[in-house]
Symmetry: C2
Subunit: 139 residues, 2 copies
């Protein structure tokens, strides 16, 4: 079986479950919105940085931030260090989502470890981390 599909199957499962947990907890965000939301730093992040981190164009990031803003999950404030820029900041409303996602990830990882064993889980992580060295374009 193709290694690509082997990687994709658990990834999709994980992503679906995290999204289900987050939306189930009342945070009504889409996957694309969540990908942006996730990258906003504690003191706010510029749109351009978000776009780079999420690997989309500035226009796409702007579009998603517009939606998140309308939903009340983020706000845009002027960047005091640069008159052109604005900082996208997570609102209080959105801050509850992170622990929900993290709890679900922990739950899934525990299930996986339960099924494939502690040893194999550690090997999986190790192999993937090493693979990231040559496949991650952002390092």
């Amino acid at each position: 079986m193709n290694i690509g599909l082997l990687l994709y199957i658990p990834y999709r499962d994980l992503e679906n479950r995290i999204m289900a947990a987050v939306t189930g907890a009342g945070f009504d965000v889409t996957l694309a919105q969540a990908r942006v939301l996730q990258r906003i730093g504690p003191d706010g992040t510029r749109l351009t940085e978000l776009a780079e981190a999420a690997q989309v164009t500035k226009q796409t990031a702007g579009f998603l931030v517009d939606q998140l803003e309308k939903l009340g999950y983020v706000e845009r404030v002027p960047d005091p260090t640069d008159g052109r820029a604005r900082l996208v900041r997570v609102t209080e409303k959105a801050k509850g989502a992170t622990p929900v996602a993290e709890a679900e990830i922990a739950r899934i990882e525990a299930e996986w470890e339960q099924h494939i064993g502690k040893r194999r889980m550690a090997q999986l992580r190790e192999a993937l981390e090493k693979l990231g060295e040559i496949t991650d374009p952002y390092r």
Copy 2:
């Protein structure tokens, strides 16, 4: 680091490279089209089956098959065993794409093995296959 991202990074790298190889060889298909094309069996496959395998609705699969048909990569023929159904079949024109994709996969796997070592590569495969048992909705 999040296990989801760890899975996703090499997956995306693989997918991007396969698509680059296939389109570079002159097969002008999009990712979504390729996902459908890939699932067509040697004797043709019904639209409904393709939709299930690719995890999209029948309408979406039909839309993609329409495009592939216009491009000359597939043809629709009546299913002799069911008057309602039609079989989607890969044309000669598209058959050259498979070896291109397979060669690229082989090349990538060799590179990965080179970097992380034969042992870790085998462990990775083993862990992923076992993980598929609980994360693959189609088994």
